[in-house]
């Protein structure tokens, strides 16, 4: 009796564990031919597949666009079931895939992942992605300018067909027209604006994605343009001295920031909340139509407007990719192709659905398709597409971003 009492829990766990299913491991050599076979075969193989799309799940508009616009059409037109899996952070996708790779899991459940920048680099370096597939997609071949730098590279990293472009983003500043009629047009003017409106400006503390992007604009404008940073960071010997004017700028505006710069909002979400409640007069976004969509939701005031700097703002592309161990690669290809179609991209552009810029080359679309895209009402808070287009700056590669984020801690946050 005595022994049994102690052993009982152990027995139970063992019996329960024995009931669990075993993973089959014979399915490794599946369908690499999909990368070479023609599209008919791919869509034939996709029929009836269930595709799990792992993506950040914190925006109801984006979630709805996928659940209510994309998924039903995929089901109807291609008999592919799209199942959206909400993630809190794209970094988690990479961590999970790394574990699956080291455990030798060959039949994974991630079929489509939504990544870019650092996550793409990490996935590529760890060989977590399936392979060169984007050239197989008809909509990629027909409507995308594959040579354009923002399509061929992702934060300086060559894409190599491992991911297909889904949309574009561009950095914009967000302000309330009723409170500041004439927004600053350069970093120098912004410094004046901040001094004239103490407590009304701040930026999310690094390593927040958007806060970090804001600082890259300061870098470009205070140190003489982006061209010099197109080479690897290690090749610039006096990098520290070159970054100096950026730290000086940030320290100069610090006393006039929200709470005298003693603290910074820990995330863009917190900063947006400050703007929504009217505590600060300016926020920022790497999504040019987000402000319009927040106005529709009633979070930002009707008088919210966005603006870019005369010298331009950073732009990047976000991508869809297929992990190495996806169990439904054909289905994933069909789904990604569908999401890159002109209809899907036009629907995505509308702030009611999402407000994400199209990844397609407007000139490759038919006149009707172009018309449809131009007819989308972006909302008063969004800048016209041409104005955004004319003010695009390339992103910095990941090695600089790391240096800047560390440097901010030492040079700005600590004092």
């Amino acid at each position: 009796m005595k022994k049994f009492s102690l052993l009982a829990p152990g027995f139970l766990v063992l019996t329960l564990a024995a009931c669990s299913e075993e993973t089959g491991d014979g399915a490794a050599a599946e369908a690499d031919s999909l990368q070479t076979s023609d599209w008919e075969e791919v869509s034939g193989a996709a029929t009836g597949q269930e595709v799990n799309m792992y993506m950040w799940g914190g925006n109801d508009n984006i979630n709805r666009y996928l659940d209510e616009w994309v998924a039903p059409r995929l089901k109807e037109e291609h008999d592919v079931e799209l199942n959206r899996v909400p993630m809190n952070d794209s970094q988690d996708i990479i961590n999970q895939l790394v574990d699956e790779k080291s455990a030798g899991k060959t039949k994974g459940s991630m079929d489509i992942i939504w990544i870019n920048g650092e996550n793409f680099k990490a996935a590529k370096d760890n060989e977590l992605l399936w392979g060169d597939f984007s050239g197989q997609l008809p909509n990629f071949n027909d409507y995308v300018d594959a040579e354009a730098p923002e399509i061929a590279t992702d934060f300086g990293e060559p894409v190599d067909g491992l991911e297909a472009p889904w949309g574009k983003a561009q950095f914009v500043f967000v302000h309330d027209e009723n409170k500041s009629e004439d927004p600053p047009k350069s970093m120098a003017e912004l410094a004046e604006w901040v001094q004239d409106n103490p407590g009304q400006f701040t930026y999310p503390a690094l390593p927040d994605f958007t806060g970090s992007a804001f600082i890259r604009h300061v870098l470009y404008e205070t140190t003489g343009g982006y061209e010099q940073y197109q080479q690897p960071a290690a090749d610039i010997e006096d990098l520290e001295a070159r970054l100096e004017p950026m730290w000086q700028y940030l320290n100069r505006i610090e006393p006039y920031l929200w709470r005298e710069g003693e603290t910074y909002p820990e995330s863009l979400a917190k900063q947006d909340q400050l703007f929504a409640s009217g505590e600060i007069g300016m926020t920022m976004s790497y999504d040019p139509a987000l402000a319009a969509s927040e106005v529709l939701k009633g979070r930002f005031p009707e008088s919210t407007r966005t603006f870019v700097l005369v010298g331009g703002t950073l732009a990047n592309t976000h991508f869809l990719s297929i992990p190495f161990n996806s169990s439904a690669k054909a289905g994933a290809m069909v789904a990604i192709n569908k999401m890159m179609s002109p209809e899907a991209q036009t629907a995505k552009l509308s702030p009611e659905n999402w407000g994400d810029l199209s990844a397609l080359d407007l000139e490759k679309l038919s006149p009707e398709q172009q018309q449809a895209m131009n007819d989308v009402d972006l909302g008063a808070a969004t800048l016209p597409l041409e104005e955004l287009e004319q003010h695009r700056l390339p992103e910095l590669s990941a090695d600089y971003i790391e240096i800047i984020e560390k440097g901010w801690m030492e040079n700005v946050a600590k004092d």
Partner: protein, 271 residues
């Protein structure tokens, strides 16, 4: 003296209500606000966008709620099966190195679950336990079992072995001794442990997320991206729903327990 009691009672009740109920008011307001600018105390206008998204539409909330509850109840049932014999042994048998066993049992409370679950993940991956409800249930046992064992141990501490001996002398077999003597005495402890176990299981995010790998979607899995992503309206609506379900589950358990005692009492009076 007797006159002041109801007065005192009502003051205490009001205070308690304010303490517990007040934090919910901003949550409710924020879940239906449409434009809420400083320095207004109340939102300018209202909208049910967040609730509509959470309760209707394609958000999968109800499925997540049923998965959450299913996991919480299985975890609790397994906990009871494990904790009763464990507590029995820990309280009643003079073991050498008992402190070590206890320390091991209670370690999950002290050690952050993240540390353990990262290691478990790889093992579970190899065993094919990730992405299954079963795997998530196993992983939920580690943060919940200690509370259950603790609660049942306290009940055992006040149960003298003499009572069982007496029943034995009257001819009761081991099963019937357990059913009629031990179990009724343990029940309050089991109920307390079960409430904790259900609440803790319901609120797990990280463990569910890592072991479930996105294929086991519970309420916290849906809720977390909205909290960190900064949609206060939807995050508030989800939080309220979460609190409501937790409270309803506890009330349900309480009612079931009360009913059990009533039946027991009635049975004792009749028999």
């Amino acid at each position: 003296m007797t006159k002041t009691r109801p007065f005192l009672k009502s003051i205490l009740f009001t205070l308690l209500f304010i303490l517990i109920g007040l934090p919910f008011i901003p949550l409710i307001l924020s879940s239906v606000s449409f434009g809420w600018q400083w320095p207004n105390i109340l939102p300018e206008s209202f909208s049910f966008r967040a609730w509509e998204y959470v309760l209707l539409g394609s958000s999968g909330t109800w499925q997540a709620v049923s998965v959450s509850l299913l996991i919480a109840f299985i975890v609790t049932a397994v906990n009871i099966l494990l904790a009763v014999p464990a507590a029995n042994a820990l309280v009643r048998y003079p073991l050498r190195g008992k402190w070590l066993l206890e320390a091991m049992l209670f370690a999950p409370i002290v050690i952050p679950p993240f540390v353990a679950v990262m290691g478990i993940h790889l093992t579970f991956l190899r065993l094919g336990l990730t992405e299954t409800v079963f795997g998530v249930v196993l992983a939920h046992l580690s943060p919940t079992l200690p509370y259950m064992v603790r609660a049942v141990m306290i009940s055992y501490n006040t149960l003298s072995i003499d009572w069982e001996d007496q029943a034995r002398m009257l001819g009761a077999g081991s099963l019937s001794r357990f059913r009629h003597v031990v179990l009724p005495h343990l029940l309050p402890g089991i109920a307390a442990g079960a409430s904790l176990s259900i609440l803790i299981s319901l609120s797990q995010y990280l463990i569910t997320f890592i072991i479930g790998s996105g294929q086991v979607v519970t309420l916290p899995i849906l809720l977390f991206p909205f909290i960190s992503g900064g949609d206060p309206a939807i995050a508030s609506a989800y939080s309220l729903l979460f609190a409501g379900i937790a409270i309803l589950t506890l009330i349900g358990m309480d009612a079931a327990l009360k009913k059990y005692y009533q039946n027991k009492k009635a049975g004792a009076e009749n028999g």
